[in-house]
């Protein structure tokens, strides 16, 4: 029994490790493409925060919904966005998930329950609350999740959204990815309260975990989501993490003194790899995983580069949904 459990947990961890690595490598490739000028606009990378996206989504069903934020690539990929369609979107191609109209800050696949990254800090909160309202109303038993950073704790919409969800009894999990930074400023200089005090003040079930350990995130998320789903109530999960890169790619981070070793020590991939190796997985096994993901990314990027340029007239004709689309 113990052995079986351990093997199941290792199996879960291995699957989560692969997913985290996939997100990491996909974003690193994106950074390289961005540096080459192939990706237009702004990109905000979630490098170092993959355990939160993967751990939380591992506790969701496929038809549960997720609202994300500007640092949303990890959430989107964890929720099942097709990698080619993801790169196609980021390269501004017509075959992209959003037909080249959204880009990095708006990656979405509603068919997968991914309600979109969001360019407005905090805006995903009320969207997730509304999605939870639909879930409750339509009776399908789904839950909604919103991912937001600690910078968003300063947004008034947090109060309105949590209160509304609590008053209406909506199945929504608020996940705060606390990486210590509110864009270019330290959150410690921006926020005068502990999120825990706030959340418990509303009577919400609050948990805080080491957000760079995917096992801990997954276990906590399972607990919160089970409660949220069973009782149709909002709950909160705060995940302590580290933002490895700047606010956006290209941010020189002059406002920040970096401690590389601390970041490396807590790298969610290393944390997971160490646990897998302790359980008997070899360096070679892990290297093989990486090789296969690299191949997948190579193919996806190659595919994306061949995408077509979106047609302006097509886009202009699609500002409004047409009646048949209902």
């Amino acid at each position: 029994m113990t052995a079986n459990n351990s093997s199941t947990e290792t199996g879960d961890l291995f699957a989560m490790y692969k997913e985290m690595l996939r997100i990491r490598l996909a974003e690193e490739r994106l950074a390289a493409l961005f540096a080459d000028g192939a990706v237009p606009g702004f990109i905000h990378l979630s490098i170092g925060q993959e355990a939160i996206a993967v751990g939380v989504v591992s506790a969701l069903n496929a038809d549960d919904t997720v609202a994300s934020n500007h640092r949303g690539h990890g959430h989107a990929l964890a929720k099942g966005l097709d990698l080619s369609a993801f790169y196609l979107e980021l390269l501004g191609k017509d075959e992209g998930l959003c037909r080249g109209r959204g880009g990095s800050m708006h990656v979405a696949d509603l068919s997968k329950g991914m309600l979109g990254a969001n360019g407005i800090v905090g805006a995903g909160m009320s969207i997730a609350v509304g999605s939870a309202l639909a879930h409750k109303s339509l009776g399908g038993g789904q839950v909604a999740v919103v991912f937001f950073g600690d910078g968003a704790l300063a947004e008034g919409l947090l109060h309105e959204s949590i209160n509304l969800a609590k008053i209406l009894g909506l199945p929504v999990l608020f996940v705060c990815e606390n990486n210590g930074w509110s864009e270019f400023s330290a959150t410690s200089e921006q926020i005068s309260f502990k999120f825990e005090s706030l959340a418990t003040g509303y009577g919400l079930n609050y948990m805080c975990v080491e957000g760079n350990d995917v096992r801990k995130v997954a276990a906590a998320a399972r607990k919160q989501i089970a409660d949220t789903r069973a009782h149709s109530v909002p709950s909160v999960l705060e995940c302590k993490t580290l933002r490895v890169r700047g606010h956006f790619e290209g941010d020189a981070q002059k406002y920040r003194s970096m401690d590389g070793t601390e970041i490396e020590d807590h790298d969610p991939l290393l944390v997971a790899a160490r646990a897998l190796q302790a359980d008997g997985m070899s360096e070679d096994d892990l290297a093989e995983v990486r090789r296969l993901i690299d191949v997948e990314i190579d193919l996806a990027v190659e595919d994306a580069k061949k995408g077509s340029t979106p047609d302006f007239a097509d886009a202009l004709a699609d500002v409004y949904a047409h009646q048949a689309g209902t």
Binding site: T65, A67, G96, L97, C98, R99, G100, R101, G102, H106, A108, D109, L110, S111, L115, G116, N118, G119, I120, A123, M125, S126, I127, A128, V129, G130, S131, A132, L133, A134, H135, K136, S137, L138, A144, G156, L157, E160, S161, N163, L164, I167, L168, A315, D318, V319, Y320, A321, H322, Q323, G325, T326
Partner: protein, 324 residues
């Protein structure tokens, strides 16, 4: 045919839409037990229950944001924002989220939702409870803006707004809620984007919408006493607006006045005037004249507010200017 007031017409539209489609929910402040500050949602809670008639806290931003998320997840929410002035608190949800979700996500899903909200003065409600802000929303690609002028078109336009796969800002006028009109006993919806000619005339065209249509009709009576016959086009929908109907009328009368209660500067009238001056230039025998409110916050005192709001004589004078 039956004679009912504007509020009842809207209430019937909500009730019928909720009966016909279980995905339609209404939500807002004091709309359930209290029946809405203007009574538009009266009786719906008793009929449809609290899962579909949702009383919310005073949280405009979260209400409209939640409606957006709900619309993306399978519902057709109809939100009430108690006064149009309060829509400022929900601007991100309306402008950055709801308006863009269909386009920005590559047309993956429609966002079928309605934000009902009353505008307009005449109640001495002061600077923060009287504004007509429809031009702001008409400026945002992705939003539709509808504004019924009477009980007769309120029902069909609200049904159309609820049926529409896009976010619709549905602007009601506080001064019209109690006003009665003859309405058809049908459950049919109108077409958003179609204007109605509510008075036929040959000498000049007055384009208007909402409660100002009544002011235009009063002006038309004053002008008719002097032998001037104006045609009145009720836009019904501001975004999109019915260019063909306006141009057809101007082609016939060769003179155009646009009248609305909203502040004249940078308003709906400016858009229509610019369009007609461009593609309808050859039809015009006189400069286009706009009638709108003075460029000031809506004042409280009755003496001040009556100076602020355009009245029938203002419109009458404007028509005369086009005939000089």
């Amino acid at each position: 045919m039956e004679v009912i007031n504007y509020g009842r017409s809207l209430n019937n539209a909500l009730a019928d839409a909720m009966t016909d489609d279980s995905r339609v929910v209404v939500m807002g402040e004091d709309i359930g037990a209290a029946g809405g500050p203007f009574g538009v949602t009266r009786g719906l809670l008793e009929k449809f229950g609290s899962d579909r008639v949702i009383d919310t806290p005073i949280s405009e931003a979260a209400i409209v944001g939640a409606a957006t998320g709900a619309a993306m997840s399978g519902l057709k929410p109809v939100v009430e924002i108690m006064f149009m002035d309060f829509s400022t608190l929900a601007m991100d949800a309306i402008v950055n989220q709801a308006a863009k979700a269909h386009f920005m996500f590559g047309g993956q899903r429609p966002v079928p939702m309605v934000v009902r909200t009353p505008h307009g003065g005449g109640l001495n409600a002061g600077p923060q409870h009287s504004q007509c802000l429809e031009a702001w929303f008409a400026h945002i690609p992705g939003l539709k803006v509808v504004c019924p002028s009477s009980a007769a078109n309120a029902y069909g336009l609200l049904r159309a707004a609820i049926d529409d796969p896009n976010p619709v800002i549905f602007v009601e006028h506080k001064g019209l809620y109690a006003k009665k009109a003859e309405v058809e006993n049908s459950r049919s919806s109108q077409i958003i984007g179609k204007a109605a000619v509510v008075r036929v005339g040959t000498d000049a065209t007055i384009v208007s919408y909402g409660a100002s249509v009544n002011t235009a009709l009063e002006a038309a009576d004053l002008l008719a006493e002097k032998g001037i016959e104006v045609e009145i086009v009720d836009l019904q929908s501001i975004q999109p607006w019915d260019r063909d109907a306006v141009l057809d009328s101007v082609k016939k009368t060769n003179r155009l006045v646009i009248a609305h209660e909203a502040v004249e500067a940078f308003g709906v009238g400016a858009e229509i005037a610019a369009t007609v001056a461009d593609i309808g230039f050859d039809y015009l025998d006189a400069p286009i004249v706009r009638v709108g409110a003075a460029f000031m916050p809506v004042p409280f005192a009755a003496s001040l507010e009556s100076g602020y709001s355009p009245n029938a004589s203002d419109i009458e004078r404007a028509v005369r200017r086009t005939l000089d």
